[in-house]
Amino acid sequence: MALNQVELGHTNELPGQDREAIVIPSRTKEMALKAGLGLTLILAMTFIALPVVSLFVKSPLDATLRSLYDPVVMDALKLSLMTSTLTTLTVVLMGTPIAYVNARFHYFGRDIADSLIDLPVIMPPAVAGIALLMAFGRMGILGHYLNAFGFGIAFTTLAVIIAQVFVSSPFYIRQAKTSFEDVDTAFEDAARTLGASRVYTFFHVILPIASNGLISGAIMAFARSLGEFGATIMFAGNFQGRTQTMPLAIYTAMQGDLNVSLCLAIILVIISFVVIALVKMLTRRVYKNVRD
């Protein structure tokens, strides 16, 4: 429908027609455009909402609530929240300086560094898992030495966090870099001329202005960690309470009982949603305070 209207608008615009004839079709064209956009929006929303809604429709509510008492579910839930939180903290602490440096300073090889930071995003998780094993595994390039000191990483909770940091850090660093780039250097210069130190300027001028972007970057990293599956199952293995995060528990449960895995999936969806909504609300308040 919408497409047809757009095409009609086009044919009316053929050269040789008088001005008024062009004005009216352009209005139809605009309406057609609006209708088209609206339709696309509805389709996109349905496309995302339908699978999520189906999860809820297909799973029995009482069983879902009961499964909260299942040790498998509780262990996976605790582990997922714990590792994703630690991952996000690590990514923010490590990523913020990197993002700031890459946003403000030019140095030799910066483009290469930038591309390297983005690399885990385009790496299939399975590839990330193998790569991590080759580096930190018992026979790995670095893991080989660590193991000599009796420090094994594979199959531990630390391995889960390493896998999550590896795959989620680009989401934060990218967003943080853009946020720092958007901070007008005039504010920085003003603070500096008023005698503020570089460090003081960073914490009291730049960081508050960029905070909105930084927090949304951190949410993205948290969400990516919460959903991490491929690299974790290859590098950290699958063990209840130690390395079996929610996605791994969902996958494992699906092989025995689809209902259990449905329940787990719903819990994960709700928690992800609540966390994201909470952080967004919090951000808005912090941001408002800063502006006031």
């Binding site: 094993l133 595994g137 018992r138 026979m139 094994g152 594979a154 199959f155 199952i233 293995g237 699958n238 063990f239 209840q240 130690r242 390395t243 079996q244 996958y251 494992t252 699906m254 092989q255 025995g256 689809l258």
Partner: protein, 282 residues
């Protein structure tokens, strides 16, 4: 302009190539096959293609994963399971053409360790040494199910006892969802030991993995059933494939990969002469 034209040509070639390959593979049968049969069935599938010009598309994974996929609407002509449990579930749910189901091969679980054997494991009793890293299957994947059965037998034996099994379980660092993940973690040297099928230690893996046999009185025999699904569009071709697997030629391939033949009498004599399992003729 030239770039645009090149782009168009590339697209056209891609479209043609995909449609051509689709046209070529118009007749194919799909076999959902237990992961432990990856090597052997790939070879038998090639044989079938050479003979009939029909290709077999395989989906190799843990039998329980394959079952879940079929239950949720995946299309398959043949289901090949690594234990009778998963096949029976499919049968009871009415997915199988029951008369087509046949047990065609057997294998035994073994303990596998990396070639350099860092934990110096020589026999099953070494698995209780504290601090080992052992990988086993989840309780749903056949190899995991068999492993738990073996551990239960050991727990009931006075020479080992429940304390032994507890110590072994304490060393388990990961529950893998299919047997190939177990062999790869041991081959990589990440784990000190694992439970897999004897037939999993293929030629490629033999340079990286050592097998340690489990005494027969503690071991179980893994039986592999295969059958045609009711939904199959090509039941006759699927039956031909099953016949090929059960023929001397098919059995020879399975034997090469360390499986014990079940059906063909000519081959089972050979298996008996290996004298590894007296149950092979049972």
């Amino acid at each position: 302009m030239i770039e645009k034209r090149i782009f168009a040509v590339v697209i056209a070639v891609l479209v043609l190539a995909t449609s051509a390959s689709y046209a070529q593979e118009s007749k194919e049968i799909t076999a959902f096959t237990a992961a432990s049969l990856t090597g052997a069935f790939t070879e038998i599938g090639q044989m079938y293609k050479n003979e009939t010009n029909i290709s077999v598309v395989f989906n190799f994974d843990g039998s329980q994963v394959l079952r879940t996929q079929i239950e949720n609407g995946a299309y398959a002509d043949i289901f090949v399971s690594a234990n009778t449990k998963q096949m029976n579930l499919m049968k009871n749910e009415g997915f199988m053409n029951n008369s087509s189901i046949t047990v065609f091969t057997r294998t035994k679980p073994v303990i596998i360790v990396p070639k350099d054997n860092p934990a110096k494991i020589q026999s099953i009793s070494d698995l209780a040494k504290p601090g080992l890293k052992i990988v086993i299957g989840t309780k749903d994947v056949p190899i995991g199910d068999y492993t738990l059965q073996i551990l239960a037998k050991l727990a009931n034996d006075s020479a080992f006892g429940p304390g032994f099994t507890k110590k072994v379980m304490a060393n388990v660092v990961s529950n893998e969802t299919n047997v190939n993940y177990i062999t790869s973690k041991v081959a990589l040297g990440e784990a000190d030991a694992g439970f897999a099928y004897k037939s999993d230690v293929t030629k490629d893996l033999a340079s990286k993995i050592t097998k340690i046999e489990i005494p027969d009185k503690y071991n179980v025999i893994a039986e592999y059933p295969m059958g045609i699904l009711k939904q199959s569009k090509y039941p006759a071709q699927a039956q031909e494939f099953i016949n090929l697997v059960k023929s001397d030629k098919g059995m020879a391939v399975l034997e090469k990969y360390g499986f014990e033949p079940v059906i063909s009498p000519a081959v089972s004599v050979k298996a008996a002469s290996n004298a590894t399992a007296p149950k092979a003729t049972a």
